[in-house]
Amino acid sequence: MRFLSSLSRLRLVLRTEQLSSVGNAHFGLEHRCFRAGYAEAEVAEEDTADFPGARVPTTSKLEFIGGAGKPPEPIQCYRLVRRNGEPIPGAEVPHPLSKELSTKMYETMVKLQVMDLIFYEAQRQGRFSFYMTSNGEEATVVGSAAALTDQDQIFAQYREQGALLWRGFTLQQMADQCFGNELDPGKGRQMPIHYGSQSLAFHTISSSLGTQLPHAVGTAYAMKLEGSDSLAATYFGDGAASEGDFHAALNFAATLEAPVLFICRNNGWAISTPVEEQYRGDGIAGRGPSYGVATVRVDGGDALAVYNAVRASRALAMERRQPVLIECLSYRSGHHSTSDDSSKYRASDEISSWKARDPVARFQSWMAHQGWWDEESEQQLRLAARREVLAALDAAESVPKPPLTEMFTDVYDSMPWNLCEQQEEVLEYVRQHPEELPAGMPFPDAAKC
């Protein structure tokens, strides 16, 4: 296909052959010694397909593996807590949760649930333009975030606001971003829920699916060169795993030995597309070993199991300086987004049966089982969260929009002449037609260009 490069390769091969014919006189002995290992196993040679692409045993039987006819054994799902919150006896729990840590995890999950509920309603009332909830995936996101360190760089897809809450992003910061007001560090340029925070090592979300996966690999590789004791962790859904960037990222991470955690939220749906139309293999986890990537599958509704799997994956990735793939199985019990009505493509009893399997309630039961939670704490927590969310929305709504000139900054580090010209044109247009200025935006000062 790339004939010019093949020509160059051909030249290289020829050159190498010339070199080796010259070198044989000197290195013949060593060469034979190297080959001796093979010669000793004369019989084994017949049994081994010794190709650069694969050194594997041979077989004289024509056999296919995989496919619908003979699927490989599915990868098991790691689970520590039953649906009713009872711990599974004899389970392997390398990283038990303390009361303090589980309380913080539970509080974060509840905060996330309350925020999702109220932000969703606020969007439906038209207070801002768009929203996406984490319903059904709270344990996946908060459980995994709790297993990372604060310096681990997170590259998320968009349904991972729980990881940001875990790291201390405030509900006020969330609301400011959704309203795109002047307190939004993103300067009101992106759609709601496209959060980012440099100080919390949470790379700003973009809408394009899967693009963050190779970014995480590049950052992880650079962190390895720095000798950092942190790594990169990237979240993505089962649908995004069909993108080419997933393939590129896993293959790059494996071959370049980058310490990166690939955390897949397999929630069964990519908007209206069920997993049967997304893939036919053993989920996302089934792909990991074929990239040479250590892989684990976990019950994403079990916060304790997610926490343990991610803690262990992180330790493995840091120790070996290699990637790990973690597939968290869950169910997207909310709509895909505020622009989606999921009852159009899935049965309402399916949704309600999964809603009943709320991972937050499951963790609460587990905590109650430990004697760490009671009804009174529950009521106080939910009430406080509700007040905080409502106050954040009201406050964010009253903050003005960023100045018009921010439309032109940050395209480059400094503004080139064409942007200066266009900024001046837009400002002049707004001076002549002030009614065209977006609502809540201050009347612009003179351009700084």
């Binding site: 490069s5 993103g186 190779p214």
Partner: protein
């Protein structure tokens, strides 16, 4: 630097003959000294190699990677770099362009300088999403919290005599339509070094197209020390008062040839402007020239429709409307996929350029 550039211009003359370059170098030594500065004779490929070496030398957080980069690259641009800087900093990647650029974005987001190579510009399209939606928009979309300014993507581009569809393309106009990227194409070894070092240092993602036809066909004295040529600044390669010829990369030597011939045969004095950077481009330089000459011919190898020539013509027409004596003309590739056996009829040539210059000067 400008003065030196003018001096250097006199060291080199290139002749276009059919499908290959012939060149004569007036300097007879391998190193020369001008104004106390050391120079080395270098091909465009040597100049790129030296720029990469000096970039890797000056900053240990600079990485070079791509397909077959480790052994020196299929065009030898990364020759010797892995031996010198190690496999951690100069390395092969799997064969995936979206992976290469995506990985580079992540490396750059960590504050490293990522110099990624796409083996042929024809194969940059799988990375289009990473360049256009990610690298270009990262600073803007995050309000400046994150950026991929450390990313430079090098890609050999342009016709090579027999490259057919997928070893010949000039995709610069796809990228000049993307705010947030810088797009550069040098036309000489000296510029290749100075512009590449500038691109690597620039705090914005840069797509750096290298005309592969010129890798070994042009030799020039290039300063030995690291130096930069400013991005966004065009260079006037030849002064003249009758017509302005604008080009970049491989069409610049054609414009020089055509200018020399019309001067001799028709007494037309053409001014040749090498844009060097296409985004953001030096409209002031072109405007100043067209204001003087009143005539404009733009030439590029890429197809004419929506090529970057259209942008030049539109902008200059607006700025210089009352000073134009004739409609601006474009001498470009045809609106077809790049053909194999018809390459000479597809591309701009000196003859086609002379025809256009005469046409515009007749009006």
């Amino acid at each position: 630097m400008k003065l030196l550039s003018g001096l250097l211009g006199k060291h080199v003359s290139m002749a276009w003959s059919g499908t290959s370059f012939a060149f004569s170098l007036h300097s007879s030594t391998t190193t020369a000294e001008v104004c106390g500065q050391e120079f080395k004779r270098a091909t465009l490929c040597n100049a790129i190699n030296e720029a990469l070496r000096q970039a890797l030398e000056s900053d240990s957080r600079t990485l070079c990677f791509g397909e077959d980069v480790g052994f020196g690259g299929v065009f030898r641009c990364t020759d010797g770099l892995q031996d010198r800087f190690g496999r951690d900093r100069v390395f092969n990647t799997p064969l995936s362009e979206q992976g290469i650029v995506g990985f580079g974005v992540g490396v750059a987001a960590r504050g490293f300088k990522a110099v990624a190579e796409i083996q042929f510009a024809d194969y940059i399209f799988p990375a289009f999403d990473q360049l256009v939606n990610e690298a270009a928009k990262m600073r803007f979309r995050s309000g400046g919290l994150f950026e991929a300014g450390g990313l430079t993507v090098r890609a050999p581009c342009g016709a090579v005599g027999h490259g057919g569809h997928y070893h010949s393309q000039s995709p610069e106009a796809f990228f000049t339509h993307c705010p947030g990227l810088k797009v550069v194409m040098p036309s000489s070894p000296r510029d290749a070094k100075g512009l590449l070092l500038a691109a690597i240092q620039d705090p914005n993602p840069v797509v750096f197209f290298e005309p592969k036809m010129m890798y070994r066909t042009v030799v020039e004295d290039v300063p030995s020390e690291p130096f930069t040529e400013p991005l966004g600044t065009a260079a006037v390669r030849r002064e003249g008062g009758d017509v302005t010829l604008v080009g970049w990369g491989p069409t610049v030597p054609l414009l020089m040839q055509a200018a020399a011939q019309v001067a001799k045969q028709d007494g037309i004095e053409a001014e040749v402007v090498d844009l060097r950077t296409l985004l953001p481009w030096d409209a002031d330089c072109v405007e100043a020239s067209v204001s003087k000459t009143g005539r404009l011919v733009v030439s590029h190898e890429a197809p004419v429709t929506s090529g970057f020539g259209a942008e030049v013509v539109a902008r200059v027409t607006r700025r210089c409307f009352f000073r134009l004596e004739a409609p601006p003309l474009r001498v470009c590739g045809q609106d077809t996929p790049f053909p194999l056996v018809c390459e000479p009829l597809y591309l701009p040539t000196v003859k086609k350029l002379i025809g256009a210059i005469r046409e515009t000067c007749r009006v």
